[in-house]
Subunit: 270 residues, 2 copies
């Protein structure tokens, strides 16, 4: 997918919502547990009920790996379903990988080629050669962790370095790498005041923004400081949407929550 | 496993060698490709031929994920084999994970509980709450990336922060976390001159050291500056051992390479 195609989808759906498929067996409706693949059945129902309101879906690989082989199978079925039934949506493997060059290339193959996700999240700690194998894949995006939404972000990411705070050094340095136009960045909504500074460094790249809703970030604040002329934002909500109900009508309830956010987004876009 | 048990094994085998099972279908002997699970067959042969010379085995998850479901199955079979046949060895899931707290807990479950690895490698970028779910698992170890062996280590890890270089801030900060006695650290052998400084900050923790051999690090230099009174080092070699030959007798060749290193280690220990 190209940035232009993503932008077109945002205009068409009047939405820049990403739904996080953090599918947890302990939290999904009990009646699904009797099916052969509860995780996939849950995801399918959520996707079917929300795909006109969301431009992106983001399974977090941890929730799948926690079930070993069976979970990995559910992940593969989920991405196959998205690619076949809803090829217009932007898919994100929220894997937070990163290793030495030849090893990162293996992860890039797994997520961007074999499973055919549009993008994968990557941790920057190991530097350029750990990220470049992802960036080398044509028409795919690498979403680099910059300033995350959790408390632990304050441990290292905002440390003052030679140059600037660490997360800004990550932004600046990564902009010098080959194919940097294929970069997006994770910036937590819980840190809305930082978006102004971030946009000075990366005016054009899309930002993937977790932390709206359950974690307390404000959609309005993020848009005020983070939006660019191609929107440039994917706002993720996971638990607030997918666990709106754990009863039979869970998918309709999830749709209601997604609709609330999409309606706010339509206003912000107009 | 406890540190004491690991130390006992080191004394018994006169070795602190870790063998990296970076098993790549493109590099294993061709005759194995006809078997049902070439990756597992390769790993099994390597383990059988070297387990008296190595105290630890470290599959890098990227090489398994690159084959999707089948690869994940090979990983599970490999760790099961190690746990059943060689319960004395220290097993490392080289996964370099790290996510917000509830998500890291899923990874901790997958690797330390369900698959029952003794340890898992974790990236520090997201800070305390991304690491603590791993540290919370009793009698298991969390191996935090500190100063890696690749070129990209220079991009961020040695950036001067408020306090000190970033990797030193990672070492110091993580030492204040609960259960920090369950921490080990990745420090690349290609940076032997750094070990002296590192040992001032973390005198007691084990260091997992990649980069000896193929990547050019010196075993003698690492031991000179990095060894403590419980040895405190696990020296990893992957390609130099497991790809010593790609012919029928590959396992014996791998043993020869492992023996060369073990003999050097026995000398350094005496």
């Amino acid at each position: 997918m190209t940035t232009e195609q993503l932008y077109n989808q945002i205009q068409q759906k009047k939405s820049f919502l990403c739904i996080g498929l953090d599918t947890d067996m302990e939290r999904i409706p009990k009646h699904l547990l009797a099916t052969e693949d509860p995780i996939f059945e849950f995801n399918k129902a959520i996707i079917d009920a929300t795909h006109d309101l969301a431009v992106s879906y983001k399974p977090n690989t941890a929730f799948y790996e926690a079930h070993g082989l069976k979970g990995w199978h559910s992940l593969e079925k989920t991405i196959d379903y998205l690619n076949q039934k809803h090829p217009e949506v932007f898919t994100i493997a929220d894997a937070k990988r990163g290793d030495i060059g030849n090893t990162s290339a293996m992860y890039a193959k797994a997520f961007l080629q074999d499973m055919n996700f549009d993008s994968v999240t990557v941790a920057p700690y190991m530097g350029k050669d750990s990220v470049s194998p992802f960036l080398a894949v044509k028409d795919k995006f690498t979403i680099l962790l910059a300033l995350t939404s959790n408390e632990g972000a304050f441990d290292f990411q905002i440390q003052k370095t030679d140059d600037d705070e660490l997360y800004k050094t990550v932004l600046k340095t990564s902009q010098t790498w080959e194919n940097s136009e294929n970069l997006m960045y994770v910036v937590g909504a819980t840190k809305a005041e930082y978006f102004k500074e971030i946009r000075k460094i990366v005016p054009d790249n899309f930002l993937l923004v977790p932390g709206v809703g359950a974690q307390g970030g404000s959609l309005q604040e993020v848009c005020k400081y983070g939006m660019n002329d191609k929107v440039g934002l994917l706002i993720n909500s996971s638990r607030g949407i997918i666990y709106a109900s754990n009863k039979e009508g869970f998918a309709e309830k999830a749709r209601e929550e997604a609709l609330k956010i999409q309606e706010q987004m339509a206003q912000l876009l107009s």
